[in-house]
């Protein structure tokens, strides 16, 4: 199949792949949903998934905000953003001490 054929048949291919994915996933997903006991995934780590999410959002937001700014103002925005980020981590970090 060449690229053009694939482009033309994009949706049928996606639907077939999805149907296969649903069939293969059904029982594992069911197993993940039916337990009767609640439990926690507790791994002691200072690096949470949110650490990455917040850092990413910080980068995107500051990059967007500093477009067209002078270097000095740009440094200010990135700096203030970093302070906010540290503040957020302090809150999240404070909450996570319960699992230390």
């Amino acid at each position: 199949m060449n690229i053009e054929t694939i482009k033309q048949k994009k949706y049928p291919i996606i639907y077939i792949l999805l149907a296969i994915g649903i069939t293969v996933s059904y029982l594992p997903a069911r197993e993940a949903m039916i337990p009767q006991t609640a439990w926690l995934w507790v791994v002691k780590s200072p690096i949470t998934l949110n650490f990455v999410v917040l850092f990413f959002l910080y980068g995107v937001a500051c990059d967007k905000m500093t477009k067209g700014m002078t270097k000095k103002k740009s440094w200010l925005v990135w700096g203030v953003g970093l302070l906010i980020l540290i503040l957020l981590f302090s809150v999240v970090g404070g909450m996570s001490t319960i699992f230390d």
Partner: protein, 499 residues
């Protein structure tokens, strides 16, 4: 004739989806889909009671109202909180999708997509709160589309009064339409009245000394801090756990939305105001699930699935007609499959853990003391047995992470603190049952010294084995193990404030 039928379609969809959810719903008390909170809701059938965080005042009032009607508590509440709201949402999705697309067929497909959405089906067939909350959120979405700001605000408020997640959702809703902040500001009082003020009911119940101090304590800043501050399971998933969580999330969403993922993404590819609101609500809940220590937070997605179903219909307007047929067939396939494989009633009867535990509680001798956490599936079930009139004295257990009694939530090593909520519980258990003591050790010791039968209420763990010495003949029992003595574990003792 055709017009008349079209007008009846929402009612027909309500009846069909209601019948489907009712047929699949559990007719017995169950903890399926980690619905251990069911016991907490059942307590409200008999008592005014402060449920787990953060109170959910509208649900408290609603269950108290439902309890006025005769019938089995489990069936009544499952129907009132899950089955009927689920059917209302499915019909409402039809109305919304038809309105935004102008096509009856797409409205029907959107309803079918929701009816086949596995996550939604699990929550619409079990005694839980999420579908009830989703109903108000879907109404808010409906009124947003109709441009009725006051009604949107009213229903966002009602969403908040049933679950605190309504608060960040409302915030995001307004942020996504920040240019209209002046108009929003004018209707904020409606939100305060419908969403925030109802929480005064919770404060009032905390202040009332006659209401059992089982989950929350009395009304004070310290007690509120203990009650509301216990939210550390959210947002704390370690980065190294992310792949494992993702490997759980993908299959669950795959079997929930199925082929409809294609038109969903198509629909959301160009974002207007409504699209921004929808994306914000969906992203917030998916983020919360992705970063939560509880892997069972997938069920929160019930809140955004009705909105997603509408976007599936919108997406289908941008695709050739054959897609509608494919999505319709895919949805029907999921409806049928879930009908057999996710039959909640059948699953509940096959593994009736909750009913077996409840029966075991009913078989305990009168005035038995049961050591139990102030929540969780075992704790809530025990509270329900108490509310049903079973003569049980709850000896509340400190959380191993929070100390054993008088401690704060974040104690470490040499730190000490004071848990006002637990102190309020101690005062209540003393007033009600005459049990004396200043912490968990003392109340258990008091019960043992005074000849009470003391049982350890839930499955024994390695951690608590160091504290409770159980009768040798009970060692292999799954729960309700007879306690012979209690030992001070030095690792726990150092967390307890000694005065």
């Amino acid at each position: 004739m055709k017009e008349k039928t079209e007008k009846l379609l929402p009612l027909i969809i309500f009846a069909i989806s209601g019948g489907y959810y009712w047929a699949l719903s559990s007719k017995i008390f169950t903890w399926l889909y980690t619905s251990g909170d069911a016991g907490d809701w059942l307590v409200l059938s008999n008592w005014w009671h402060v449920p787990h965080q953060w109170g959910k005042p509208l649900i408290v009032l609603y269950i108290r109202f439902i309890s006025l009607f005769p019938g089995d508590d489990v069936i009544k509440l499952t129907v009132a909180l899950a089955v009927i709201p689920g059917a209302i949402i499915t019909a409402l999705v039809f109305v919304i999708a038809k309105r935004v697309t102008g096509k009856t067929t797409l409205g029907l497909v959107a309803s079918a997509v929701l009816l086949g959405a596995t996550i939604f089906t699990t929550q619409a067939t079990v005694l839980e709160q999420y579908i009830f909350t989703a109903m108000f959120l879907t109404f808010a979405f409906y009124f947003q589309i109709r441009g009725q700001r006051k009604m949107t605000m009213l229903f966002l408020g009602l969403t908040t009064a049933t679950h605190i997640v309504g608060l960040p959702i409302t915030f995001l809703w307004i942020v996504c339409t920040y240019k209209e902040w002046r108009e929003w500001a004018k209707v904020i009082p409606i939100y305060i009245v419908s969403g925030i003020l109802p929480y005064s009911l919770i404060l009032g119940m905390m202040a009332n000394p006659d209401i059992p101090k089982l989950v929350s304590g009395g009304l004070s800043w310290q007690s509120l801090n203990g009650y509301l501050g216990n939210t550390a399971s959210g947002v704390n998933l370690a980065l190294v756990e992310a792949p494992r969580r993702l490997s759980q999330l993908i299959p669950i969403y795959l079997i929930t939305l199925g082929l409809a993922l294609v038109p969903l993404f198509k629909g959301l590819s160009k974002l207007d105001k409504l699209g921004r609101i929808s994306i914000a609500v969906m992203a917030f809940i998916v983020w919360f699930y992705m970063t939560n220590l509880f892997p069972s937070v997938w069920k929160w997605s019930s809140l955004w699935l009705p909105i997603a179903a509408v976007w599936v219909a919108i997406g289908l307007t941008k695709l050739p007609n054959w897609h509608t047929i494919v999505i319709g067939i895919g949805a029907i396939a999921l409806i049928i499959t879930n009908g057999f494989v996710m039959n909640t009633d059948k699953l509940a009867h096959e593994d009736p853990q909750a009913t077996e535990y409840l029966s075991a509680l009913y078989e305990l001798p009168e005035n038995s003391c049961v050591v139990i956490p102030r929540g969780g599936q075992y704790g809530f079930t025990l509270f329900y047995a108490m509310s049903e009139g079973q003569s049980i004295i709850p000896l509340a257990q400190g959380n191993p992470f929070t100390g054993m009694g008088k401690s704060t939530l974040t104690l470490k090593d040499d730190e000490t603190g004071y848990d006002q909520s637990y102190a309020d519980y101690l005062a209540w258990v003393n007033r009600e049952y005459g049990i004396e003591g200043e912490d968990m050790y003392e109340i258990v010791q008091y019960a043992l010294d005074n000849g009470y039968n003391v049982y350890y209420g839930q499955p024994m763990t390695e951690l608590w084995e160091t504290v409770f010495k159980v009768a040798p003949e009970d060692k292999d029992k799954p729960y309700l193990l007879k306690v012979e003595s209690i030992n001070h574990n030095p690792d726990f003792s150092k967390w307890i404030k000694t005065e």
